[in-house]
Symmetry: D3
Subunit: 316 residues, 6 copies
Amino acid sequence: MAKQLMDLTENEEFEMFVILKKAEKRVAKNGKQFLAMTFQDKSGEINGMYWDASDEDVEKFTAGTIVHLTGKRESYLNSPQIKISSMSLPNADEHLVRDDFVQSAPIKIYDMKAEIDQIVFSITNATCSRIVRFLLKRHGEAFFEYPAAKSNHHDYEGGLAFHTISIVRLAEHIVDQYSGIDAPLLYSGALLHDLGKTVELSGPVGTTYTLAGNLLGHLSIIDAEIVEAADSLGISQDSEDLLLLRHMVLSHHGLKEYGSPERPQLLEAEILHDLDEMDASIMMMKRAINQTQPGEFSDKIFGLDNRRFYRPTKTE
Amino acid sequence: MAKQLMDLTENEEFEMFVILKKAEKRVAKNGKQFLAMTFQDKSGEINGMYWDASDEDVEKFTAGTIVHLTGKRESYLNSPQIKISSMSLPNADEHLVRDDFVQSAPIKIYDMKAEIDQIVFSITNATCSRIVRFLLKRHGEAFFEYPAAKSNHHDYEGGLAFHTISIVRLAEHIVDQYSGIDAPLLYSGALLHDLGKTVELSGPVGTTYTLAGNLLGHLSIIDAEIVEAADSLGISQDSEDLLLLRHMVLSHHGLKEYGSPERPQLLEAEILHDLDEMDASIMMMKRAINQTQPGEFSDKIFGLDNRRFYRPTKTE
Amino acid sequence: MAKQLMDLTENEEFEMFVILKKAEKRVAKNGKQFLAMTFQDKSGEINGMYWDASDEDVEKFTAGTIVHLTGKRESYLNSPQIKISSMSLPNADEHLVRDDFVQSAPIKIYDMKAEIDQIVFSITNATCSRIVRFLLKRHGEAFFEYPAAKSNHHDYEGGLAFHTISIVRLAEHIVDQYSGIDAPLLYSGALLHDLGKTVELSGPVGTTYTLAGNLLGHLSIIDAEIVEAADSLGISQDSEDLLLLRHMVLSHHGLKEYGSPERPQLLEAEILHDLDEMDASIMMMKRAINQTQPGEFSDKIFGLDNRRFYRPTKTE
Amino acid sequence: MAKQLMDLTENEEFEMFVILKKAEKRVAKNGKQFLAMTFQDKSGEINGMYWDASDEDVEKFTAGTIVHLTGKRESYLNSPQIKISSMSLPNADEHLVRDDFVQSAPIKIYDMKAEIDQIVFSITNATCSRIVRFLLKRHGEAFFEYPAAKSNHHDYEGGLAFHTISIVRLAEHIVDQYSGIDAPLLYSGALLHDLGKTVELSGPVGTTYTLAGNLLGHLSIIDAEIVEAADSLGISQDSEDLLLLRHMVLSHHGLKEYGSPERPQLLEAEILHDLDEMDASIMMMKRAINQTQPGEFSDKIFGLDNRRFYRPTKTE
Amino acid sequence: MAKQLMDLTENEEFEMFVILKKAEKRVAKNGKQFLAMTFQDKSGEINGMYWDASDEDVEKFTAGTIVHLTGKRESYLNSPQIKISSMSLPNADEHLVRDDFVQSAPIKIYDMKAEIDQIVFSITNATCSRIVRFLLKRHGEAFFEYPAAKSNHHDYEGGLAFHTISIVRLAEHIVDQYSGIDAPLLYSGALLHDLGKTVELSGPVGTTYTLAGNLLGHLSIIDAEIVEAADSLGISQDSEDLLLLRHMVLSHHGLKEYGSPERPQLLEAEILHDLDEMDASIMMMKRAINQTQPGEFSDKIFGLDNRRFYRPTKTE
Amino acid sequence: MAKQLMDLTENEEFEMFVILKKAEKRVAKNGKQFLAMTFQDKSGEINGMYWDASDEDVEKFTAGTIVHLTGKRESYLNSPQIKISSMSLPNADEHLVRDDFVQSAPIKIYDMKAEIDQIVFSITNATCSRIVRFLLKRHGEAFFEYPAAKSNHHDYEGGLAFHTISIVRLAEHIVDQYSGIDAPLLYSGALLHDLGKTVELSGPVGTTYTLAGNLLGHLSIIDAEIVEAADSLGISQDSEDLLLLRHMVLSHHGLKEYGSPERPQLLEAEILHDLDEMDASIMMMKRAINQTQPGEFSDKIFGLDNRRFYRPTKTE
């Protein structure tokens, strides 16, 4: 395979195709405009500055463009950075496509759909099953396209579904290992817990928070939709099953400080919270370690209290 | 007016009619049963122990019973306490009624209804107005009967409506004094902010939390009902007015630690939170000071970080 | 009215008179000097960089100077910024005066004095009244000129008096709505609570903290002055009225973390704290929203825990 | 199976054999001595007071004694309590043995030993493997007998080994589901993480903290033993494997506030912490829910921030 | 020397003279009155209950009375307790005096006065020296009689002066060991830092907080008195020396949370805070360890975050 | 003595020899490389930028080089900064040596060794004495060369030993002033408390954290070495003296949040913590004040919660 961004070592010179994840026009202290860029390929992303950009450059090099990049990988304040030698649009006959440059869930959407179907099928509780089906149907398309977050972890196309599947897989192990867990409730909570992100976030590309996302948060968004679903399906608002499912979703951030209006008060709600947090942590750590040389500490990880993680020298 | 509980001074002997707010059977260390009681009249409440209660006593002296009480007001661990000399049921010809003994909102329900009507009438925003009317209609009866809390403040019949009215009155002053406030939004938020308590709490007497109250909290309860109301009224879930109103309700506890999934991000939401807190504080302080002798500090007030408040010697 | 700074939309070109609120000489990375400027008029303020400033420019364009500015309103890191085309001193015959460019209290000093007089007149408690008069006399001039803070809110000429008046107006509403409040004490506390700022701050222009301000804080400053006033007036240091008034002032920050050596332990002290905080919050929110486009979130407000506030699309 | 303590419903009268977990002599306010008791069988435990205990009773009914108990299950302050009718020693021919009354790990020691052996066998890293074997050999007996805690969870014979096995099982799932995890390091950390409890705690019965436990804590205890083991085995103190293993153990409480001198800085250390916490939480919740009636909330769980957990009405 | 309270071992029977530190009438659950007592001698204090107290007993055994006590030292909830066998007033010819039973500063007042004089004499800064002399003269008598606290540490006659002297002695060492410290400022701050306690507390016996103590705190009390002293002495309120001295006193609690309106911002102020805290800690630990058997942990010390301290087996 | 860096006043032009503490190559926004430098001499250090550095300059001006510097002391963002006019290597005949430019402990190593020997000699407890000697022998050389920290305080050659000696001197005063302190334990704890820094830090120059330092921390490092020492010396791991000494070291950060796995539970451990903190604070304050003009506030001190400290105008 051709060399990729994350394969470059310090001070290595290179040429390769990359996609522009970000290309922001700014004005330097000397009054000239430049482009603050983020280059991306499947392996990861690195920043770089395109100095003295002409108006034509600004128009040509926008976010989402695939470019041919010649440069050198340097360091700036301990972070890798590209010193650009030259940058140009690829020839028309290169046939490069966006999907070869952006990160996406490690499972194909087709397979994720199948796995989700199977889980839904295993939910034996009628109330839970009907509501889950109703809401997955409403948000189905977005569910398999959206990221699970604006940044930090699972912040790529399909990230939401992949994060959900990871949690369900862990949940299945927990159900196997410990007795007395209400599996249908746990799986239903896992499937719906982040579904409100299809309303909270703007979409898979250039993800931002929507107004509803900012003012309500994805917990309240999906909670109200569960109530609407029950109305549509003729399920009583007093049904204990419904209350339990709403509680699963509302409490899954674990702490009020993190936006859950109530802390988990069900065995299954506490487990869902733990698994959610664990899957996110592992993803953040793996990404950070991946971008770190053996024998070094990673950058600070914002989502993990700014800790740095060590990549042992022997890590395979 | 006849002497009431709060009029008694230390070591004063008395006889009067009171209502039993609480009458819990317990077993003393010597194995005999006794009744842990709370006596109440319009002026306030004091605890007392009814030692060596016979089975007949237990049956006769239940919560809600009006009794003729002879005793002495003493102190126990700095709190007033009644030493009971004798206690008996009133004669049949006494014609005593519960309403003369329990605290209730200082405004008549009839007047509160009129005042609420007037406020609703003043809401010029169609979306807000229709949702407020819809939900007040659904919970109208409970709204005027329920307390605003299980204890601490406004914990009596009509307390919810009275607390709501107090906030609206303050809000009207704020709207007068400062320009640029969206009055219809502020009033709508004030009217709905605690309406979920009609589902969170069990009712005006012997108030406890319901299962929905424990698992969802009154913020999420009313938020989902606003969404349901919009569905019923054909208001789009994407309407900005609707989002703003939902935000008013969800954010009114001010801090995530206090159960708001989002902090106030609207001028009107922050004001609602401030007024809610201020009205509750004033009520708690006034009650505590009322039960304190001039020149003394009150008991610790739980809802105000366990502070004691001083009643100056000269307070009229 | 002529177009003002806050009326400019993104990328709009303009020429207008403004005052230089700040004009700091700095050295750019290329070794040339430039002026970091803040332009101000009644509508608000925007930053801009004056590149390649000559020594003559530095001397000419100092803080407080009124200039004729030609430029373009751009954005830098989400904040508005002026790109300067040209800048010059106004002709001698323009007759521009500072007061037409800087923000000041929305009420005339003359009217504020009248309103304060009326409040003082209403204080029926002799001890409070005498001390308030004594200290207002001592700091009277500064009281009507100083800002209420170095930045954040009421940070303009007359801000201190205007903030005080706003609180008193709210206090009058509270006294009307709730019974049992010691109005003279509440008004006296309101009038004196921030008076120590006339010693803590350096003055209305280029406001900084004085040494006394840094080492003592305005609470201890005014507290000691109340004691001095009592000495001068022959009021006993053991007078309960005096203790209560000192407590009002010392406790008005509400929390020890915010510099109050004691938390409020009087009904009136807690109310004063609540009103002080509410008036400051409303001012900060209104200013931030004012500088925000409809449908957007404001900048983070430092004094409100870095929250951003949303300006609804429909705000009039 | 005969009725057990946890099967009793409120106010049910019963007779059964139980073991005395606690029998503390105290003096009542009337000067008479009584025994504060905790009755236990495999299903759980309930408190009860044995009033007016004679000196003979005190001598006869000590902790660890199996008794024949007649009484009634009542409630005291929302907790179940036994009202004792009579209590006597069993006849000599009853052949009752302690192991039939006390809780123990749900797996037999023999099977736990086999499972631990298998895990140790799977540790392919020589440094880790040798140290784990060395220390398990040193503390082997205690490891399979000690509880994992003084109270809260796994506080019974074999609890330490069972808790360790539970974590390893979860760890195996994690290794399967996520790539890039150093399995030998994770398993070694899991096996050693709580082994210092064999020094920190006094033993499986009447467990208290030892002086070393109080002054050093089990993290520092086992950390120093790992260093000693390396010395004995000729492993260099600078070996990266050794540092990583020490870090696994020292950081497994996750937060400094919880006694870890360093927070996890390895992927495997963070995972170990998460799994440790999750297994403990599940055990605490299951026990509390088990002692709760369907449709009720459990007692507050100290180890889970005093939350109560709800047992749904339908729980099978 | 005769055996004293702290010399008694568990279950030891004894007879001795003690003073009643506390003798509170209470009513037992069986309706009979008893006296909750605290017995004290120079060695320390222990609680005990005097059951079935007659009205005559209540009158006879009041706080401050010296009694002849026969009893047994037992334990109750891990705290020592006296089981009273008999208690009587001493014969008239016993000539027992209060001072032989209550704790007091380990230095005679006469010697403390001499040491304070010497320190004052060494203050070479005129402003500081004059203010210190002025205020010590005003509160001189109380300064040598008052305790330094209501409880916890130095809570005995002369405790305030003794605590002050201890800090000054430490300060002298610090001045010797480190260069660049303003000794007159440090000593003046040390002498005045707690002098406000002569107004904050009610006196050496049965110490409570005064109204001024509750509403103002001893920091603001002495700060205002420093200002008054300066007025009397003709020292300008703008004198830097005066500001520094006020800051020393106002900041000596170190943190705003502990009631200092400003945190230390002078080298000498930070040192004063550290020494104040250290002396108090050492006193609390020494007292707790003194009341603990070798090889045991002390009771929890409230003033040290409820830590228990260990008394090693070998402690001489 | 020749003028030094800290003697320069704002805008003063100068020429002098200094050592380069830092010389980092960076790339300016205009694409040219420059050197971000820290100049140092015995008096302190100041930053400066060397613009348009040639490749030759980069090679020549590395950290540790002594240079002849001509320039002007200016200010940048309130911090002093050197504007470089010219910079060159000294002539070969200048005979300048590093030790004349870098800060070091104010006592000679020879004298520090003698003082440490004397302290060790005074430790009368055999267990403590033997372990202290063993470990000082192992780390003796590093102990007298290493700094006590990477920055903030005692961050120079010999800083570790000097900090240790300062604490022991304070400890001697404490032992004199208060009775009942176990002096050998306190001195032993003081000598060993930071000795793990010889493993945690990389060395006296260009100090960084080692891998062991990052993953274990100096508390656990020295704790394990104490255990190894005991093994080597045949001291039982159950010896109470050993447990106490380990506790001294493990608890000396005082709070779990600061990395102590257990909080101090010995009188001597609490004292060690207090003295450690006080010596560090005084050093940080003295350095900051030293770099501040009279009548000004220092920069924020990171290690003291970002407080600024005031240097009075009169400070000698």
